[in-house]
C-alpha cells in the first residue's frame, strides 16, 4: 500500500475519533436537556419550593460547591 493510503488512513482515524467524541458530548447534552424537560414537567403540576436553609445543607448526590453556582443565578 502506498504512503498516501496510510496518510489518508491516519488522518481519517484522527478525525473519526474526534468526531465520535464530539458526538458523544452532543448525545450527553441532549440527554441532560431531556431530563431537565422531564423535571420541569413534574414541577408544572405543583411548584416545589426549595428553602434557603436546605440549599445550604450538603446535597444528597453531590458536594455543596456543586450547587452554589446555579443557586446564585
Amino acid at each position: 500500500m502506498s504512503g498516501l493510503w496510510f496518510l489518508a488512513l491516519g488522518y481519517g482515524v484522527i478525525w473519526l475519533v474526534l468526531f465520535a467524541y464530539v458526538l458523544s458530548l452532543v448525545y450527553r447534552e441532549q440527554e441532560l436537556r431531556r431530563e431537565v424537560k422531564f423535571i420541569t414537567q413534574i414541577l408544572k403540576d405543583g411548584e416545589v419550593a426549595l428553602p434557603t436553609a436546605q440549599r445550604e445543607s450538603p446535597p444528597a448526590e453531590g458536594p455543596r460547591e456543586a450547587r452554589e453556582p446555579s443557586a446564585a443565578t
Binding site: 496510510f6 484522527i14 458530548l25 431530563e35 453556582p69
Partner: protein, 240 residues
C-alpha cells in the same frame, strides 16, 4: 426562597453560552484548517518516508494535548484534595476524558505511521509501551469514576489516581532518551531534527489542537457541572 423550576432553568445550557463557548470553537476550527494547510501544502515532503510523514504533525499535536490534559488533571486533583471544592473535580474528570481521547488518537495514528515506516503496526518499543501504560492508567481513572457511587469518595479516589498517574507522563517523554528505541527523537541537544517549514507546520498543528482541547474542556466542564446540579435537584425531588 428559590423555586426548583427557577433553579433548573440554568441547567438547559442557555445561560452558559458565553463568549468562550461562542468564540473558542470557531477559532479552533479555523486554526485546524490552517494547520491542515501547513501540514499538507506548506511543509515539504520528507525525503526518506515521503507523504506518510505528514501524519507526524497532528500525531505530535495529539500527544502534546494528552500531556497537557494529564497535567491539568494532576494540578486540579491536587487542588481538589486541598480545598475539597467540587469545581476542581469537574475540571479534572473532564480533562482526563479528553486526554484519553487524544492519547487514543496518538496511539492509533502512530501505529499507522509505524506500519509504513517500520513495517509493523506495533512493537514493544519503550515509547510505545509507556504510552500504552499511560492510556491504561487514565482508562482506569475513568472506570474508577463509574464504579464509585459516593460523589465525595469518587472525587477523592480519582484525584489520588490522577496525581499518581501523572508520574508516567515524564517517563513517556524521557523514554526515547533513557532507553534504546526506534522512535524518532525530535528535540535533542543539537536542536530540532526537521526543516524550518516542518517545524512551523508542527507548531501550527500543536496550537490548533491545543485550541480544540480548550474548546472541549469548556463544553465538557459545563456539562459535568450541570449534570451534578441536576442530580442534586433529582435527589431533592426524591427521583432516585
Amino acid at each position: 426562597m428559590m423555586k426548583l423550576s427557577e433553579r433548573i432553568v440554568g441547567l438547559d445550557g442557555l445561560r452558559e453560552d458565553g463568549v468562550l463557548r461562542w468564540a473558542l470553537p470557531r477559532v479552533a476550527a479555523i486554526s485546524v484548517l490552517v494547520g491542515l494547510y501547513f501540514a499538507f501544502i506548506f511543509a515539504e515532503t520528507e525525503a526518506t518516508m515521503g507523504d506518510v510523514q505528514r501524519i507526524f504533525y497532528f500525531h505530535v499535536a495529539s500527544a502534546w494535548v494528552a500531556f497537557l490534559a494529564f497535567f491539568v488533571v494532576f494540578v486540579t486533583s491536587i487542588a481538589y484534595l486541598r480545598t475539597r471544592n467540587w469545581q476542581w473535580d469537574s475540571i479534572a474528570c473532564s480533562a482526563a476524558e479528553i486526554g484519553t481521547v487524544f492519547t487514543t488518537i496518538a496511539l492509533i495514528s502512530g501505529s499507522i505511521w509505524a506500519k509504513k515506516a517500520w513495517g509493523a503496526y506495533w512493537t514493544w518499543d519503550p515509547r510505545l509501551t509507556t504510552t500504552l501504560i499511560l492510556w491504561l492508567i487514565y482508562i482506569s481513572y475513568l472506570v474508577l469514576r463509574r464504579m464509585v457511587e459516593t460523589p465525595q469518595q469518587r472525587a477523592a479516589f480519582s484525584s489520588v489516581l490522577g496525581i499518581i498517574g501523572f508520574v508516567d507522563v515524564p517517563i513517556v517523554f524521557l523514554s526515547i532518551r533513557l532507553w534504546r528505541t526506534i522512535h524518532p527523537v525530535l528535540i535533542s541537544q543539537e536542536g530540532m531534527d526537521m526543516t524550518g517549514r516542518m517545524g512551523a507546520a508542527m507548531g501550527v498543528a500543536v496550537i490548533a489542537f491545543t485550541l480544540v482541547f480548550a474548546t472541549l474542556v469548556v463544553i465538557r466542564v459545563s456539562l459535568e457541572r450541570r449534570r451534578v446540579e441536576l442530580d442534586a435537584v433529582k435527589a431533592h425531588l426524591g427521583l432516585y
